[in-house]
């Protein structure tokens, strides 16, 4: 790789009591790529992702965004730095409308007197932008932007959450198991969506247990094992069974992948 990584982590360590969740873990994300993170249960991939998205604070190690060291104390700080996370639970408020959800926590106020003194929300602008962002991603089967999120299907909700991340994430989007709760058709829609977002040059970290999905969309695969990065492989050079073998320790990864 000639380009500089967008996001790197070096030597991350995190203990939970006696359990070592991260043991000198490294991580690299390059511009415009989809990096899949795979690992067995308990390998520490959630902890790694939480450290990057600001949900936990690592005991040791360094995280750099665009080459500058960052220390996130909350998901909010990571978000302000340009790292958006699509949580497995989606973190949508079911009774609120699509537009309200997209702007939750970063609402726009009206310009001028009403906004300044009465803190009036600029609903028209928020609805217009929400509509634009959704149609950018080909999600305008959702016609009514004022519709409550709870009336949407699982795939549509995922779409809203991805659109929210894509609309506001300026550096990195992290997606935690985006297809885990979806059917075959809806998974397809979400995978297309992920590639659409990547095609705009936004790097994506994809955490998934679904090997076919990982091998379909990922540019590189980060294999996490025993609290650290075991290797990074190119999905074109290896098979799914190779990946599973590395992940579970059934097979030693090749030397060149270790160096990556």
């Amino acid at each position: 790789m000639s380009t500089e990584p967008v996001l790197t982590a070096r030597g991350l360590v995190k203990h939970y009591g006696r359990v070592v969740a991260l043991n000198q873990a490294d991580f690299d994300l390059y511009p415009g790529e989809i990096l899949a993170v795979i690992g067995d249960n308990g390998a520490g991939k959630s902890t790694l992702i939480k450290a990057i998205s600001g949900a936990i604070h690592p005991d040791e190690g360094e995280i750099r965004l665009d080459g500058k060291p960052v220390h996130f104390r909350s998901p909010l700080e990571a978000r302000e730095a340009g790292i958006e996370t699509v949580y497995q639970t989606l973190a949508l408020s079911p009774a609120l409308s699509i537009a309200d959800n997209m702007f939750l926590g970063r609402e726009m106020r009206k310009p001028g007197f009403m906004g300044r003194w009465f803190r009036s929300l600029d609903r028209e602008a928020m609805e217009r932008i929400a509509r634009e962002k959704l149609s950018d991603l080909g999600l305008m089967t959702i016609q009514n932007i004022g519709q409550a999120v709870e009336t949407l299907s699982g795939g549509q909700r995922q779409g809203v959450a991805v659109a929210r991340a894509a609309a506001f994430g300026s550096k990195v989007i992290i997606m935690d198991e985006p297809t885990a709760a979806l059917g075959v058709k809806e998974s397809r829609r979400v995978l297309d969506l992920i590639q659409d977002v990547r095609s705009r040059g936004m790097p994506i970290v994809l955490i998934s247990h679904n090997m076919p999905h990982v091998f379909e969309v990922a540019d590189r695969i980060h294999v996490h094992r025993l609290g650290r990065r075991l290797c990074v492989i190119d999905p074109k050079d290896y098979t799914m069974s190779d990946a599973v073998a590395f992940m579970t320790g059934a097979k030693e990864p090749p030397a060149e992948a270790l160096a990556a």
């Binding site: 989606l90 609120l96 009465f118 959702i142 969309v217």
Partner: protein, 360 residues
Amino acid sequence: MSEAGGAARRGQEFEDGLEKGDASVAAFESHEKTILDRLQHFLHGNPTMVPVIVLLLSIAVFGFVAGGNFFSAFNLSLVMQQVSIIGILAAAQSLVILTAGIDLSVGASMVLVSVIMGNLAVKMGLPAPLAIGVGFLCGMLAGTLNGFLVTRVKLPPFIVTLGTWNIFFALNLWLSGAQSIRSQDIDATAPLLKWFGESIRIGGAQFTYGSILMVLIFAVLWYVLNRTAWGRHVYAVGDDKEAAELSGIRTNRTLVQVYAVAGLVCAIGAWASIGRVGSVSPQSFQEANLQSITAVVIGGISLFGGRGSIVGPLVGALIVGVFNSGLRLAGVDVLWQVFAIGWLTIIAVALDQWIRKVSA
């Protein structure tokens, strides 16, 4: 970087079967809906319609049953006067219930604040505006205490406010010595305390400043809840606190603010209550907390949080007032008024449950 983007659209092998299947993805299902489904959807989108329909129906029915007296402008404005204090407490209660909490201490904190205002202005001779200001501050403090216990000590709102209800009531008896401050004494030293008891006449109707205040409080809260970011956050916190937190809302701060604002609204209610009762009475409004919850529930705000319009509790309070007034004018015993309100509450919650089950 690989060229996976374009080629990947082929999909997985197991997905080949999809081509023969129904290709519509993530589209809205437009299957036939029954009238009941449509009604459910309509009510889901417009949760205030149930209480509004009930209010209009009950006015029509009682107008018919109780005769012309009921329909007079004077009687309808009297209903507003009668529900004004419970209405103001219901406004405070709505804020808390929207966050999936409950505030059993609203009535007790209101009476406590009215005793504080009366003691300062009448017994200690402080200027009335200052006494009222201190009262407002005490109301906010009482609310903040509730909010602190709910968010920092992480106790359930029901337990917290059950405790503070008793604490505020005991403080109120201690400060007042269980003695009322008489109307004449207030008139002599601090008539401003009774200002909300004054009224203006429009035609045959007589509106006390207190009933106008109630409508104003609801109007302000409507604006805040629907037109400001803070209002949206209140709904989001009540709907799904964890999701709200992950969306970047400081949920605990929002919660403390909600309880503090509720306390302030109760304190404003305390000032209005002195005008309504005509004296400062430590034994009054003993059931006001439960009556305010009744108004909120009949008004269609969900006890599970995050759902319902602030207009609902105003309508809910008016429904209770209309039932009481109508049944009284029709010569029905008071016990049947209570009986009717009880059923109304249960039906309102049952309706809420049904509306929440709406499916796309």
